[in-house]
Structure formats: structure tokens, C-alpha cells
Symmetry: C2
Subunit: 223 residues, 2 copies
């Protein structure tokens, strides 16, 4: 469960399955911009690179395809999924609905004694990252933030589905400095609403955040 979040531990451990190693390795590459949308994935290359059999690569590719990270087509090398503006907006519609639900559930289930620490820790990690800023550090912190929210909400189906939203690709294609600023205030609002226990307020805050992202993308695209 929540296997997708285990991006945190890198391509190191051998106790992970071979296909898992490939899967995580590619996700990490994507996050670190070592792979860009449109880039093709060659089975034999990946097999050599990760020191695994071609089978394992193919299994990883199946999972990436279901997750919408890559765009497979019969008898051709799959490529990192490219999305145009229209599809980006579609993804944001889905993200608004599910992020709203996640915040709603978290606010509803919030228990200070149990959840306050984890939430504050995740928030602090977000605040501290913008200075040193490795390329993927902020992404990791953001993922952790959402992971905590999902965990508080306690909806396992949402925990499973949420990482499948194509936000990866959006963040990998669009990266505006305004996004960085905006996010912190939005995240704080979401956290405060969750702590306050007002589910509808938390849902609004989450939806607002997604709409802010939409506005910035639309604006930056207009130029």
C-alpha cells in the first residue's frame, strides 16, 4: 500500500523487487528532470542500466502505463507522456475533486493528539526546503505533505488513487517561480483548515489551491 510514495528511498536497496527498482528509478528520473516528456524508454537500455532482466523492465512499464506516466503504443517504445494545455486543465479538474476530498476527509478525521505532530513536521519540511533546494527536494516534501493529509483522512482508496493523478507530468512540464511562492501560503491555509476540523473549509482551501495553480498555468501559457 502507498507503494508509490516509497520514492523516498532511492534505487539503493536490493530488498526491493527488480521491477520495483526500475519503476522507482524512472519516477525519480522524471522528478529530477533527467527524463523529459516525450522521451522514449528502450527496454534493453533500462535493463542494462538497472541491472535487471528485460522482464522486470516490462513489468515496470506496465505499471507506469496504468499510472499514466508513460504513453505506450503497440510495437513502439513507450514515451514519457506529453500533455497539452487542454489535458493539463482536465487533470486539474480531477485534482481539484480529489484534493478537495482528501482535505475534507482529513479535516473530518483530524485528531490533534495523533496527527498534529506529523502535519507540523511535514509543513516544516516544506518551509525549510526552498533555501537549499535540490531539484527534487521540494517535490519530495510536497509528496510527504499530501501523504500525511491522506493518512489523516484514512481513506485507503483515495490513498491508492491520489498518486495516480497526472500531477507529476504537470509539475515536470510547467515550473514557474510564482508556483513556488503561491504554494506555501496555500498549503498553510489547507493545514489550518484541517487543524480547525472544518471539513468544508478544508475542501475549499484545497480546491482553491488547485485553482490557483490553474490560473498561473493559464497566465504563463498566454505569453
Amino acid at each position: 500500500m502507498a507503494e508509490d510514495f516509497d520514492l523516498n528511498d532511492a534505487s539503493d536497496a536490493t530488498h526491493l523487487g527488480a521491477s520495483q527498482r526500475v519503476y522507482l528509478g524512472i519516477m525519480e528520473d522524471l522528478e529530477a528532470r533527467r527524463m523529459v516528456p516525450g522521451q522514449r524508454l528502450i527496454e534493453t537500455d533500462l535493463a542494462k542500466r538497472f541491472n535487471v532482466g528485460r522482464n522486470a523492465v516490462r513489468e515496470a512499464i506496465q505499471r507506469l502505463a496504468v499510472r499514466g506516466v508513460i504513453d505506450p503504443s503497440r510495437n513502439k517504445s513507450p514515451a514519457i507522456r506529453c500533455i497539452d494545455l487542454k489535458e493539463t486543465l482536465e487533470i486539474l479538474d480531477v485534482a481539484a475533486a480529489l484534493t478537495g476530498l482528501a482535505a475534507h476527509a482529513a479535516a473530518r478525521a483530524f485528531d490533534a493528539a495523533q496527527d498534529q505532530l506529523a502535519l507540523d513536521t511535514a509543513m516544516a519540511a516544506l518551509e525549510n526546503v526552498d533555501t537549499d533546494s535540490g531539484p527534487g527536494h521540494f517535490s519530495r516534501a510536497r509528496r510527504q505533505f499530501y501523504r500525511v493529509i491522506l493518512s489523516i483522512g484514512g481513506n485507503r482508496e483515495l490513498e491508492r488513487l491520489f498518486p495516480a493523478i497526472g500531477m507529476h507530468i504537470i509539475y515536470s512540464q510547467f515550473q514557474s517561480p510564482k508556483l513556488q511562492q503561491l504554494r506555501m501560503t496555500d498549503y498553510r491555509a489547507i493545514r489550518d483548515a484541517i487543524v480547525s476540523g472544518n471539513a468544508n473549509c478544508a475542501e475549499s482551501a484545497a480546491r482553491n489551491h488547485v485553482e490557483h495553480v490553474r490560473a498561473i498555468i493559464l497566465k504563463s501559457e498566454q505569453e
Copy 2:
């Protein structure tokens, strides 16, 4: 795209990939109740049954796992996912949000000239199926109904994510006669709201439907 809906064409065609054949075959088994939650999947058995290599089976299993249809654990045969009442309700929360979004988008984008026929056809298929009623026939018609709605809405991300909701499992575990009756009136309401073009009304109708399902499950579980 929308590969998951291709359950319609069965295990026949050889033009499908081997792993695809296994994937669809298992989904079909699940729908026809030939496989029940908790049942284990043995790689070699499936390979023999579908006349494919073990690799292909493993690829199919990866996809089923990501989709939440099966519950894999290291070094053990994966089993069809079992869900308790609590998780069922969690799934319904997600279903309410995404079904609502689907109906909303469809109502917003509805164009009579282009969409009326498909919607009416899907609706008619639903009305006609309860008499002859093979076991999976209603499921097929329902899937087609949702497929049309998603297609009208035109949100590709939602089309991708929607079939990943664990409704399969719910319908496979709970099957009350009340469900059958209820659905038709609900579906008509959804269709009418979509045709009317009132997005909020359509969203409400969809959410109401999911809540009706929830109520029936809760009631049938209380006994």
C-alpha cells in the same frame, strides 16, 4: 486509451497482446463471479489457462495490482482484493466525488446533435437487459453507460482514472435485488440532468446515486 473498457470484446481476439488477454480474462471472470474476493491467482495456472507465457501473466498481475483489483504480497500468490464494510464506504466516498465530476463535465459539454444518440442507446441497453439478464450483461451495460458519460465530458484524465475506482469489488461482493431497481431510476435522473445541461444538477444526481448505493449496502449489512 480507455483500454479498460474493452472488456466488451472477450478473450477472443489474438490481435490483443498476451498480457492484455489475461488482464481482460481475469476482469471478466471477476465480473461473472467465476472468481470471488480472496481467491488466489497462481501464475502457472493462469499461464496454462490462457495459453501464454508466465511473463505475460506477471505483466497482467502488475496491472491488476495497480488497479487495486488484486492484493499482492511478496513471495505469495496475489489474491482478489477483499474489502470490509469500512473500506467499501471509503471507496464510495471516492466514487461520489469522481462520478459527480463525470456527470458535471458531461452536462457542461453536452451537445445534443453529437451526444444524444449515444446516451439514449446506452440507456436503452440498460433498460432492456434486466429481462434476459446474463450475469455480466448488466455490468456491461452499466459500464457502457458510464463510458458514454465520460466520453461526453471529454476529460481524458477522468476517463483514465474512473475505471480504477474499486467499484468492481463492491459489485462483486454486494449484490442486492434492491440495487437493480434503484439504479434504473437513478440512471434516468442522471441522464436527464446531463441532457438538460445543468452541470450542478447532474453532479447532484450522480452523487445521490452513489449515496443511494451506500444506504442500501449499509442497510443490508445491518441485518
